[in-house]
């Protein structure tokens, strides 16, 4: 069964460093998303991406964040200068369409720890 994959599974970085989180969405899906979940809190939307541009972003997704689809399979989230409060699980998701019943399938996540 097709699934969303994410690498790395864990990432430890120093505050101020840049990190790139990688995702391979399900192959025939057209819409891509990043969410994050701070420990003990609910899953929060960061950004959605379609046709090589951002469709919607939350207030969390500030200038330190960027997304890219560098080739036909990968979808990346870059944090330019990490802060302690960026420590969280980051989930990539994809969906085939966004018509009613839009179902988003999630990857296993990348656990980011900023020291």
């Amino acid at each position: 069964e097709p699934e969303v994959t994410q690498t790395p599974s864990h990432q430890v970085t120093q505050m101020g460093q840049e990190v790139i989180l990688r995702c391979v969405p399900i192959s025939n899906h057209l819409y891509f998303y990043w969410y994050r979940q701070i420990l003990g809190q609910k899953v929060e939307f960061l950004v959605s991406f379609y046709n090589n541009e951002i469709s919607e972003k939350s207030e969390i997704f500030d200038d330190q964040f960027s997304v890219e689809r560098p080739d036909g399979s990968n979808f990346t989230l870059k944090i330019r200068s990490t802060k302690l409060e960026d420590s969280a699980m980051y989930f990539c998701a994809s969906s085939e369409t966004r018509r009613g019943g839009q179902t988003q399938y999630f990857g296993p996540g990348t656990r980011l720890l900023v020291l």
Partner: protein, 111 residues
Amino acid sequence: TQLLEQSPQFLSIQEGENLTVYCNSSSVFSSLQWYRQEPGEGPVLLVTVVTGGEVKKLKRLTFQFGDARKDSSLHITAAQPGDTGLYLCAGVRGSNYKLTFGKGTLLTVNP
């Protein structure tokens, strides 16, 4: 104020019991999804409901979407220890792309 309120927050029951968890909102959703999440893993989709009043069954799990598309419930019959996990509801409003999640119900089924 939470857009999606899930209740109860925690539920601990014995194997074989039935249970219902709820997902409520004052807002209308164009679709609502239920996920199960294990510690340290991503949410795994259980079901998507779209039509008001819709009922979907997945083995011992029954999902219902409210007539007004503002609320949903998940009923588990004869719970088993393998049902233990965090159950999340998440909805899409209007033409937005994003899923809005509830905080989840942490279910523990004791053998």
